[in-house]
């Protein structure tokens, strides 16, 4: 077999390992899938009446449901990558990683397994969230092409944040740190256009909100699902995703290769 074939085989083996881990550790998976759903119910039924009154042309709780779904899809991504970070950190604190490193396998396949496994988990969690949203009366004017584009943007964004979470998991000294650091990502959804329009924010915060990656991602998905303006948001969302993915990928590899190069147990 060629090197490329080995890389693919090893990555597939590691992906299978990762998916088994998700099944064997269901409490984490359930928590990550559950959080966005709880927030969805909270934002629609508790805050939705009042927040919906502030929307432009179409007002009310149902209009707010349509507005907030893209934000909660991003919460789903942010929540799922917290799991990635935890799983990577758990792996790194166990002895099996050293065993992998003494075997002739594709170097990055352990990380690739985590990334692909998390991507599948994130897409499944988003599908569940959209299902629940439809159950609550979510309405989308998007055709198949728009849906496909929205899924593509979300998958790309998730891919980037998953690599970032891998790097955070590798950089963390303990599983606790790995679990806490990605929470910043959840906060970023709130500090953007995920739940309310940035135009209602005070000047300084608004500027921050408009120039952070979650805002163009939320605006693009919202635009695609509700036939609103997408425009330059899509380009910004893609640029952010590619940029984060490349930097996080390189950071992860360097952390993984450097890991434990200095300490004797």
């Amino acid at each position: 077999m060629t090197t490329l074939a080995y890389t693919l085989t090893d990555s597939r083996v590691m992906l299978r390992r990762n998916l088994k881990h998700q099944l064997r550790y269901p409490s984490l998976t359930l928590m990550l899938v559950g959080l966005p759903i709880v927030l969805l119910l909270l934002f629609v039924y508790v805050f939705g009446g009042q927040l919906g009154a502030g929307l432009g042309a179409h007002q009310g709780r149902h209009a707010y449901l349509d507005y907030v779904v893209p934000g909660l899809l991003l919460i789903t991504v942010a929540s799922a990558v917290q799991g990635t970070s935890i799983m990577v950190a758990m792996d790194m604190t166990s002895g099996i990683i050293d065993r992998f490193r003494t075997m002739a396998i594709a170097r990055a396949s352990v990380l690739t397994g985590h990334v692909l496994g998390s991507l599948i988990q994130t897409l499944a969690a988003m599908a569940i969230l959209i299902g629940v949203a439809f159950g609550l009366g979510f309405h989308s004017s998007a055709g198949p092409l728009e849906w496909l584009a929205a899924i593509g943007i979300l998958a790309l964004f998730a891919f980037a944040l998953i690599w970032l979470a891998v790097a955070l998991g590798l950089a963390a000294k303990s599983v606790e740190t790995a679990s806490n650091t990605p929470m910043i990502l959840i906060l970023l959804v709130f500090l953007g256009s995920g739940f309310v329009s940035t135009s209602t924010m005070p000047a300084g915060l608004r500027q921050f909100a408009e120039y952070q990656p979650f805002t163009p991602a939320a605006d693009t998905v919202r635009g695609l699902l509700t036939h609103a303006e997408v425009g330059h948001h899509a380009i910004a969302a893609i640029a952010w995703s590619v940029g984060i993915a490349v930097v996080a990928y390189l950071w992860s590899l360097s952390l993984y290769n450097r890991r434990r190069a200095v300490e004797p147990k």
């Binding site: 002895g95 099996i96 065993r99 003494t102 075997m103 190069a261």
Partner: protein, 329 residues
Amino acid sequence: MTGLGSTPGIVARDVCKSFGSHLVLDKVNLTAHEGSILALLGPNGAGKTTIVRILSTLISADSGSMQVAGHDVVSDPDGVRALIGVTGQFSAVDNLLTGAENLQLMADLRHLGRQAGQRRVAELLERFDLTDAADKPLSVYSGGMRRRLDLAMTLIGEPRVIFLDEPTTGLDPRSRLTTWEIIRQLASAGVAILLTTQHLDEADELADQIAVLDQGRIVAEGTSAELKSRIPGGHVRLHFADPDLLSSAAVLIPTAAPDRDQLVLQVPVADGNVDSLRALLDELHEARITVEGLSIHTPDLDDVFLAVTGNHVPGRLDEDSTLQGATRR
């Protein structure tokens, strides 16, 4: 690669390694031939794990040349990795998978192919007495079972060189014997084995060659017998009821060393020489000196170890000091 018994599985020359300003390995030389067991003996912190981590491609040395299974560790680490097996001090198993899944994972990563992999997994489960527990999660495995699985995972690709870093630490005596038996079988099947241990009896029991590592230096090297011959021979310790008897006996036997605190007289006697022992006791009997008790001491690796690592002055070895006592300061 030829499988001849004289082929060196591991050759390390002048290996140095520092962590910061702390010199951990100082020009270490090691050779382990195929089909033989090299024991690296040393107290905690001597650098045993570091040399294993270097030779198994986990970390790099600062200088020195190293070949493992015919491949250069620095320039061809993947060539080395394909032919080695490593069992570290801490069990390197996947806790969320079952025993069989752990082995299957190794088989897949060794690219054994579906059928050959499954056959090998079943074979190893059988050999390590894990067939009944194969489909159980590792959370129900005992310490001994985890160790056995760990070793089985190391063997899946039929490595030519095996590194065992304190393989019996934390095992009960029975599992320890089982592990020893497996290690012997591997060596007789032609594998080169580098074993680190701080248990002298383990090195004595298993190793063809022993290298004693202390503070990053090889301070002694040779077979168990060669090392033992380097220190003073055996002696008999005679215990007395009171200091007067001890003094009289000391006068009678001028070659002996009396210990007045413990009321013990240490008499040099050639190894297993029954006649000289009988003569010694006859002499005491005729002088009407009553001996309360007696113990015979033949030099063992404890003595060698304590002598060469400088933890003790040769010739004044305390009978009761085992290695554990000496190193767990």
